[in-house]
Each structure stands twice: as C-alpha cells, then as structure tokens.
Amino acid sequence: MSTAVNDVHEHEHEHPEGFWGVLGRWLFTTNHKDIGTLYLWLSFIMFFVGGAMALVIRAELFQPGARIVSPEFFNQMTTLHGLIMVFGVVMPAMVGLANWQIPMMIGAPDMALPRLNNWSFWILPFAFSLLMSTFFMSGPAPDFGWTFYAPLSTTYGPKSTDFMIFSIHLMGLSSIMGAINVIATIFNMRAPGMTLMKMPIFVWSWLVTAFLLLGVMPVLAGAVTMMLADRHFGTSFFNAAGGGDPILFQHVFWFFGHPEVYILIMPAFGVISEVVSTFSRKKIFGYRFMIYAIVAIALLSFIVWAHHMFTAGIPLVTELFFMYATMLVAVPTGVKVFNWVATIFKGSISFEAPMLFAIAFLFLFTMGGFSGLMLSIVPADYQYQDTYFVVAHFHYVLIPGSIFAIMAAIYYWLPKWTGHMYNETMAKWHFWLTVISINITFFPMHFLGLAGMPRRIPDYALQFTDFNRIATIGAFIFGFSQLLFLINVVRTVRGHGPRVGAKVWEGAHGLEWTLPSPPPYHSFTVPPEIKN
C-alpha cells in the first residue's frame, strides 16, 4: 500500500526519500491513510502470529497423548492466541479500516486529531512487544486463558502476568484514544449536508463501536489494575479470605468482555452493509432500522455480560435477568440479517470476492448467532459452558463474522486505496478454500462440545479423536490458504493488476468513490457537496 501512495506524486505533498526519510514518514505520520495502512499491516502480521499459535494448538490436538508441546506450553498458546486474535488482529484491522474510510466517507480531509491518531497506533507495537516478551522470560508466559480469571492469574499466576497486565493497559489506552478520535471525527468533520442519518452505515457502525470502546476499555484497565494490586499490594479484591470474591473478577472482566465481542463484530456489520448493497446494485434495505438495530445491540451489550458466568453459581434472579437480556440481542441482530437478505432480494447480484465473503458472512455468522442463542439458555449452557461448543460458537462469529468482513472490506476497498485491481481468480481461490476449510475446522467442534470435550485441554479422551483430526486438517488448510490472501494484497499494493477508475464497482455509491483511485493524500481538502 505504501508504494501506491507514493505513486501519486501529488504536487502539494512530497514524501521523504531514503531509509531515514521513509522510516520517519511512517513513524511520525499524522495522515489517516498512512496510519490506516500501519494498522492493517500490524493486524496482518499478528494474524499470522496468532494463527501460527492456533496451528500449534491444533497440531497438539491432532490425536490423543502428549505429542508436540507440553501442557504448560499449550496453555500459553491458547492464552496468547486468544489475546492476539482479539486485541492484535480484529481490533487493529477494524481501526485501520476506520482510519482509511471514515474521512473519505464523510467528506473530511483527515481524522480530527491526527497526532493522537499516530499515538494510538504506535502504542500498539510496543504493547505487543511487551506481551510477546513474556515468551523470552524465565517462567511461563501467561497461561490462564485470554479471560485470565482470578485467582489463577493473581495468586497463582506466573511472573510474566505483570507484563501482560501492563500490555493490556497500553492496548486500552490506544483503543480509548482511537475511539475518541473516531467520535470527534464523526461529530465534527462531516461535510456540510452529511447529516447523521445520511452517513454510510459503516460510519454509523464505527460511531457506535467507538462508544462501546469508551465504555468498556477503562473497565478492563480497572480489572487488570485490581489484579495487579491483588498480586503485589496485598489487596483482596478476589480473595474470599479478605472479604473479596473471585467471581467479582468475572463480573468486571465480562462487563468489558461482552461488549468487546460486539466491538469486534459491529464494524463488520457496517462493512457487510456496504458490500451487500454495492454488489446487489440496490440501496441498503431499511437504512433507518439498520441503525436502530446497531444502537440497540450496543445498548443491550452492556447488560448481558453474566451470560459468560452462568455456571459460576450466580443467584437465580441474576441468571434469569441475564438470560432474558441475552436472548433479546437476537431481535436487533435478526433485523440486520433480514435487512441484508431483503437488500439482496430483487437486486442485481454479481459475485466478486467482496460479495462472496459477504454472502459467506450471512450464512455462517447467522449460524454462529444461533449457537450463541443456544448458549444463552441457562440450563442448556450448564452443559455447553467451557466446552468446544463454545469454541465453535465464537469462531463462527469471529472468523466468518469479523475476519470475513475484514477480508471483504480489503478486497472491496483495496482497488480504491492502491488504484489497482487485485487478482480476482486468486481471490476466488482464496475464498473457496477459506470457506470450505473454515467449516471443516469448526463445524465438528459443535459435536465435540456436545459430546463433552472441555476447552483448554491439551489432551483428550479417545472418543473425541475423529472430530479433532478433522478440525486439525481444516485448520491447516485454512491457515495456508491465507497465504494466497497475503500474496494477492502484496501484488496489488506493488502495482500489479489493472488500473481502476474512481468508481471501482458498478453498484458502489458513497463519497469515497468520487475521489480518484488512489485518493489524494488528504482526502477532501475542499468539503464535497452532499446531494439528495
């Protein structure tokens, strides 16, 4: 993507040359596109790192018996895989998309607070260095799951836990500043005439996501701060001997954790809305209701957290309340699914790569949603909780949900960003391999979970062997298929592939398509007119 921007040779803006010049450009940049690019590359790298960890997990689980890694290392893999995928892949990718797209979609020259934007990004590589440094310490890296429940992570946690805690502080800081920037940009930088109810749904979804971030990242910071205090300063937040309660940790964590998973999916909803509408050549159906639905999901997400704690022995009234609230989320989510289908209905559909991913999203995310709904039924969750059924659920919503949406978005906007079309054949191969292997990997996990396989175990009883093998095979196919994606993106960024005009897709509408491809360094130096 870097060269593409360089290709433009804008007169108003010369990029520095030479090693230090280029380094300086990326380190000091205040430009939303550069920062978006940085975020996306960070996410891409972390995807391979976190994915490699997943492959270690799957390799160990290929058959029963301790084969490849020790149980201790296995737990570290699980933990870091979860943390990296959530904080290092999906979140940065979504912020990257926001950085690239929001100013272009609302007719702004840049983000509202460019220097803060740079800081939000550059904290992340440091935060992940801090996190990954735990692998090189004496003693295990964090090994208590990405949910780091106390007291396993406090009294019993390895020394490296403190590095994880500080790393999470940094990630939180980055997210909060990023969210502030998005809000300030959307509230303050819209072109004249771009009223809130005219904003593209992607922008809306990010506005809501930003509020979710502001609402919960500080709470996560609070949770890890309490952990730190319990570990080193003698406090007893999570220790019954001093009047605390380990379940308190879970409440605080999930107050963050549940909205967090919607943070991961909300921008994906936005992307899918744009893509589905473009390739159906039809306006999104029920624009207003799509927005109400996003807002409703966001609001509900604050009052459903204890559905992760149904087996923790919380009182009956609480369980009932959280069950009902959780089930309610299906209503606005259903509205969204139905609206997407209605947009496709009677459209004029073509099947380019972004659309293929969006269609897969519609099927597979909905399936993940259904298993989520099953999990929300408390008595049934007594059997599902902490089994591979949950693992299946969240990979269905996270991979065909968030990750597919990210892939759709990249295929969709990459021509705009670089001025070159990606290779469609390769993209189709990538799609089919991905969509088939994802199901080979994660569909059998439903069976495993129902049959009684707990999650986070490095070894299992014999009756789980078959499906674990299938899952492992699928995972490796999935993993290596992603190399196609990498190649395709790199090729396009480096200028292979035909040049494209301003309006890359026939059915596309929106301000970003009025700019040339690639767009000028500062998107809209003169605010555009908003018609209709």
Partner: protein, 392 residues
C-alpha cells in the same frame, strides 16, 4: 478454475474419508449431548433439542430466501435491481416475530431453571472440593472423606503404552452415590477455580475458592458416569477427571458401612518400623499417584513453576524440612498441604522414596543429610508439632 474445484473438493473428501476409516478403531464418536440419567439432564436435553430445532427452522427459512435470491437475481442472468428500500411494517413484523419466538423459548427455560435451583430436602449431602488437580469428596452426614486422582498411567499419557478405553477419564477412587435419592452437592475449591462437570447428571458447577455453590441430582440408573474439570485451573486442567459410581441404595449403605468401619477397626500402628525396601516400594506407588503429576515420574518437575525434586535442596537436605514441606505445603503455590490427604505412613514412604530416587541419596554429592529413611512416627511427631504451632 471452475474445473479445478470439484477435483479439489473430492480430494478433501477422500482425505477425510480415509481418516475416518483409520480412526474408527478408536471409541465411537458422539455428535449430540447425552440425554443423561437425572431429571435435570432430561430437562436440559429437551430444551437443547427445542432451541436447536427452532434455530434450524429459522435458519432454513432465512437461508432459503437467501439462496433463492442469490440464484434468481443474478446480474449474469440479466437481473435488474428493484428500487424498494424501506418498509416500516415489514421491519416491525420481523422484529416482533422473533421476539415472540424468544418468549416461547424463555418460558420453559425459566421453569427448568427454577426447578434446578431447589436443593432442599436432600437425602445425601456431599461436599466437593477442587484441588490442583484432583477432587476431594466429603460425605457430610456419613463422615467419609477422600481424594480422587487421575489413574491413567503416565506411560499412556506419553504414548509409551497403548491407551485404554477410559484414557483420561478414570480415577483411583470414584464418587459413590445412591440412585433414586436426592443428592445435594456443595461445590467449592481449595486453590483456584475448577468446575465439577458430569454431563450425564446435567451438572456443571464452578468450584470457587472460599465460596460454596450448590447443585443436586436424583440419578435414575445405576452405572458409571464420567466427566471432567471444566474450568481452566492450571497446567493439568485436562487431567482431573470425575467418575461417579451410581449404586443401589442398599449397595450404598453397605459401602458407607465398609468405609466407616474400615476406619475405626484398623488403627494404623505408627510405632511399627518398616524396612527401607518396604518404604521405597510403597513410596514409589504413592509418589506416582500424588506427586508425579507436578514433579514428574523422573523427578524433573516442570521448572520453574514446579521444581525438580531430583537433586533439590529440600529433598537432599535436612529431612525435617522435607517432611514439613509435604505436610504443610507452601501456601499460595500449587504445593498444597498433604497432611489431610496422606497418612503418616504414606508420607514417610513418599519422603523416603524421594530421598533415594533419582540419585538423591548420593551423599558425596549432596552432603550427609541426603538419603536416609523416614518412619511414620517421625512424621506423626512433626504433624503434632505443626498443629500445635497453628493453635498458638
């Protein structure tokens, strides 16, 4: 590429098929939740199937419209986009109908949950305590209490021996319970959070240190029911199974009798001295069940979390510290106090074993404190001392 796909897919299928054939030598794979043997598990199963079919039907409905549209309105077939993009009544309808479906699901779920919550009028009360990585069962009314450890031999874990049918799902002493009686479980933990889960009973309860949470069961059929710890509790989380032996009330009564009788009729004679060979033999077995999970059969541990005992300062130093470590453990670490789990004789045997195994009795190397034999009497006196200290 259109031609390549079918080929590719058929290859995958072939690959998968062949794996299936090879692996069918293993135990049969299940694909659904067990129906179980308690009212609770039946309720759960019914709820599970109900939600499942509701989701499937909604899915079929939504997906058929989607597939139909994708096929019918292809641009390549000349489809022209329609111009509608809003319809409030439709929107409200497809919000209200799912809502009603949800209400229909919530009602039975609520009923089941209320029933589950009632732990009153129990016939047997059992306190379950999770330890890293074993379970302790205390029959509160009968005064029976014991630990239940994984009994799969280490050689099977390390693939040095063929795995038996209940690989990882077998224990040395199962929980014995009567059928047709209401059993109340009080679940808690000693160190970190564990979760006591037996699918056939429909029970999963997190064991929270310092808190008790309750559940109950009324088992319908005699049999052996297996489960596992279901909350990540450290390195060996995958190695703390649960086995429940459900027997007739008569058999249960007999079992209780036997347990309590065994205790009073055979007061262990701690005065009796044992030979070193005897201690070593006994010690090795005990070591394997109680200590090897952390300190490893080879005594190498998993440093730094679990120190090696081979050549360790404590296992080669003054015997008093060694006994004290086993008796009292080290608070705040996984090294728990074994004084409640092991008798004086047992500890004497284990300590003796540890002091001789893996070359720990190499006095030229480790000094003259290394090696030696420990007798039950010595452990007993140290135990009395430590209890005394605590009282002060």
């Amino acid at each position: 590429m259109k031609n390549n796909f079918p080929v590719f897919i058929s290859r995958i299928c072939l690959l998968l098929g062949s794996w299936f054939c090879i692996s069918s030598a293993y135990a049969e794979s299940r694909i659904n939740m067990p129906q179980g043997v308690t009212p609770m598990s039946h309720d759960i199963y019914a709820l599970h199937m109900m939600i499942f079919w509701i989701c499937v039907s909604i899915g079929v409905l939504v997906f058929s419209v989607l597939i139909y549209s994708l096929i019918k309105f292809r641009k390549s077939k000349g489809a022209v986009p329609a111009d509608f993009h809003e319809h409030t009544v439709v929107e409200i309808t497809w919000a209200v109908i799912p809502f009603l479906i949800l209400v229909a699901m919530a009602i039975p779920a609520t009923k089941v949950l209320m029933r589950m919550d009632n732990t009153d009028d129990a016939d047997v009360t059992i306190k379950i305590v999770g330890y890293q990585w074993k379970w302790k069962y205390e029959y509160l009314d009968q005064g029976i209490s014991y630990f239940s450890n994984l009994s799969t031999p280490v050689s099977q874990l390390n693939n040095q021996a063929p795995k038996n049918e209940w690989y990882l799902l077998e224990v040395d002493r199962p929980l014995v319970v009567p059928i047709h009686q209401k059993i109340r479980f009080l679940v808690t933990a000693n160190d970190v959070i564990h979760s006591w889960w037996v699918p056939a009973l429909g029970i999963k309860r997190d064991a929270i240190p310092g808190y008790i949470h309750e559940s109950w069961a009324r088992i319908e059929k005699t049999g052996t029911y297996r489960g596992q710890c279901a909350e990540l509790c450290g390195v060996n989380h995958g190695f703390m199974p649960i086995v429940v032996e459900a027997v007739t009330p008569e058999a249960f009564a007999a079992w209780v009798q036997q347990q309590t009788a065994g205790k009073t009729s055979l007061p262990p004679d701690i005065k009796k001295e044992k030979s070193q060979a005897e201690l070593l033999k006994q010690g090795e077995t005990l070591y394997t069940t109680h200590c090897a999970i952390c300190h490893k059969p080879e005594g190498t541990g998993m440093p730094p979390a679990f120190p090696a005992l081979k050549g360790s300062v404590i296992a080669t130093g003054p015997v008093k510290n060694h006994i004290a470590m086993v008796l009292n453990g080290k608070p705040g670490t996984a090294m728990q106090a074994f004084k409640e789990q092991l008798s004086d004789e047992d500890i004497a045997a284990i300590v003796t074993y540890e002091r001789h195994a893996w070359g720990n009795d190499d006095t030229p190397r480790y000094g003259k404190e290394a090696g030696g034999t420990v007798q039950a009497a010595q452990v007993a006196s140290q135990r009395a001392e430590s209890t005394h200290e605590k009282l002060n």
